[in-house]
């Protein structure tokens, strides 16, 4: 009974999660859940090996796309905040 109450009680207090880059790792289980559910609705028959393979491919594709999008956004932010002000300073206009 005490263990049950402790488990229920743990759902009433939020976890301590910082705003550091490591908090981005919370993305991984969510992407896994999305890949699993999406593939569960798409495959003809659910058999362990092909299902795991297809889910892994989708999971990898989403992760690669997110990393590429993050790199592009990082590059744009770097140009706007680091390079553009220097160019404007040198400009004669």
């Amino acid at each position: 009974m005490i263990a049950f109450s402790t488990i229920l009680g743990s759902f009433t207090v939020p976890m301590r999660i910082g705003t550091d880059p490591a908090s981005m790792l919370w993305l991984i289980p969510l992407v896994a859940a999305i890949a699993i559910v999406y593939k569960a609705t798409k495959v003809g028959t659910v058999r362990l090996r092909p299902f795991v393979q297809e889910t892994a491919v989708l999971f990898g594709s989403i992760m690669v796309f997110i990393v590429v999008a993050a790199l592009i956004l990082y590059g744009v932010a770097w140009i706007v905040t680091e390079q553009l002000p220097r160019l404007l300073e040198r400009s004669t206009f």
Partner: protein, 146 residues
């Protein structure tokens, strides 16, 4: 073999499958004899929702201050209505007593992650509800054609 009464009425059958899929994630597929698919959906959706609740506390289900998120969370199951009602009651009681600590604590990055997890779980279940209804429709057509 006789067709069950709930399968003979096409529209009723689709509504029943959709309602079951909303009531318990994966139950719609289970009804269509897609037991593995139903189990995978149930585990994935329920786990994502519970992780969201654990990370952010049940305060992330907030029908008062986060209505758009709540709409997505409702897609998990009608049980979320009771949870939302309970959280809203606690929030209103805390407002009346002018004691914010009486409401369920929810703040910061944990709130964001909790809301995203629970809402995505709801939207994934919505996808499964639509898929279950579509599969039920195809199954009915197949049986009618056979």
């Amino acid at each position: 073999m006789m067709t069950p009464w709930w399968k003979s009425n096409h529209a009723l059958f689709l509504i029943l499958v959709g309602a079951l899929a909303w009531l318990i994630p994966g139950a719609g597929h289970f009804t269509l004899n897609e037991k593995r698919r139903g189990s995978v959906i149930f585990v994935a959706v329920a786990l994502t929702f519970l992780v969201g609740l654990y990370v952010g506390s049940i305060g992330v289900v907030d029908p008062v201050n986060a209505k758009p998120w709540y709409a997505a969370q409702l897609m998990n199951s009608p049980a979320v209505l009771f949870l939302g009602d309970h959280v809203a009651d606690a929030y209103r009681a805390a407002q009346r007593a002018s004691e914010p600590a009486k409401a369920y604590l929810v703040y910061g990055r944990a709130n964001e992650i909790g809301q995203i997890y629970t809402s995505i779980a709801g939207l994934l279940n919505l996808l499964c509800i639509v898929n279950a209804v579509y599969m039920a429709h195809l199954q009915s057509l197949k049986e009618a054609g056979a």
